[in-house]
């Protein structure tokens, strides 16, 4: 499974859930697969997808928040596993799309091949922690996690490889405004 297929499968399981997509190809592919106001595309601030998602889910406890990180983003903010575990929001799902490299900058390898992310999540107080490496299991397990009490963690092993896709064409303040407007609907 490649990242594009994995993101497509994940987004097709969603209805009105909120998604924080990390910088790089993950945001860009999500934007091209299915742009929606519930998507927050992080353009810079590498490593902060998890903390942004935690900040939202700790306040908006009735909204489901899905964090889409790459292995590079997750390794950069390893400490946030601990902060999520401490706050323990029931409505947070942290996904790591792990291709063992920084694909957005040309495929330089990360050190994620030695990391068992699911063990890290378990030891930092995540309520659910799963690993998948194919599309049908991804759909099944992610659908299960959406219904379960979190915080939940999902490690998705993917292949390297990307498509030539256009960049995100929405200005950052507009990405924020439409995300916030949707988040604050029906209060």
């Amino acid at each position: 499974m490649n990242r594009y297929e994995a993101i497509e499968t994940i987004i097709n399981c969603l209805t009105d859930e909120f998604v924080i997509a990390c910088n790089g190809f993950i945001s860009r592919e999500l934007f091209n697969i299915k742009d929606r106001p519930q998507n927050f595309y992080m353009l810079g601030s590498m490593g902060l997808a998890s903390s942004i998602g935690l900040g939202i889910s700790s306040v908006k406890t009735d909204k489901k928040v899905i964090i889409l990180s790459g292995d590079g983003n997750m390794l950069m903010s390893f400490g946030t596993f601990v902060t999520i575990g401490k706050i323990s929001p029931r409505n947070l799902v942290q996904i790591v799309l792990d291709n063992e490299c920084h694909e957005s900058t040309g495929g330089q390898e990360t050190s994620s091949s030695i990391v068992d992310f699911t063990k890290i999540a378990k030891s930092t107080n995540f309520k659910q922690s799963k690993f998948v490496d194919n599309l049908s299991t991804l759909q099944k397990v992610f659908t299960f996690l959406l219904k379960e009490e979190g915080p939940s963690f999902l490690h998705v092993k993917i292949n390297k490889g990307t498509k030539d896709l256009p960049r995100i064409s929405i200005e950052p303040p507009e990405i924020l405004n439409r995300f916030m407007e949707t988040l604050h609907l029906n209060q």
Binding site: I20, L43, L54, G55, K60, S77, T83, I87, M180
Partner: protein
């Protein structure tokens, strides 16, 4: 100013989400924030994580405060330039001024010397609290931050909050 008065003043000014990484200058304040649940203080592992948390809390409708030592400003610069300033997220930063006047442990001297310059080039308005500052100055600075919808920094020297 007493640390309890300082924390309560932040609350009365409308701030309702607190996160950060401690500094001895803010030691009692952060202990007080974290022991009193009404402040909802979240201890962050890094200052940039604190900025991410506060940005998320803002999106969710809160008015967040991020407390840190000026060493943490160095850690936060990318989070400020490529998240907070890029997306126009209004945060209230409380930054302690270690290395003020060149009189501190060696690791604080360069950041102490350049901190205000870093904030200035990022266009982040500052207010430096001194022992003579009164409550109204903090209240007005917080009002300005809210009305203009921008990120600002309140700078604390050693001994101002006790």
């Amino acid at each position: 100013m007493n640390y309890k008065s300082f924390c309560n003043l932040l609350k009365e000014s409308g701030f309702d989400f607190f996160t950060g990484v401690p500094c001895s200058i803010l030691g009692k304040s952060i202990l007080f924030l974290s022991r009193n649940k009404e402040f909802q203080y979240i201890p962050a592992t890094t200052e940039s994580e604190a900025i991410g948390l506060a940005s998320g809390a803002y999106m969710a409708g809160r008015r967040p405060v991020v407390l840190m030592q000026n060493s943490g400003l160095g850690v936060s610069i990318n989070a400020l330039t490529s998240l907070v300033l890029l997306y126009k997220i209004p945060l209230f930063l409380v930054i302690t001024w270690r290395g003020y006047g060149g009189n501190d442990a060696p690791e604080h001297l360069l950041m102490g010397k350049w901190m205000l310059d870093f904030l200035k080039v990022m266009n982040i308005p500052v207010m430096i609290l001194s022992k003579d500052s009164n409550k109204n100055q903090i209240v007005n600075f917080a009002k300005k931050q809210k009305n203009q919808g921008i990120t600002t920094a309140l700078i604390l020297k050693k001994g101002v909050i006790e």
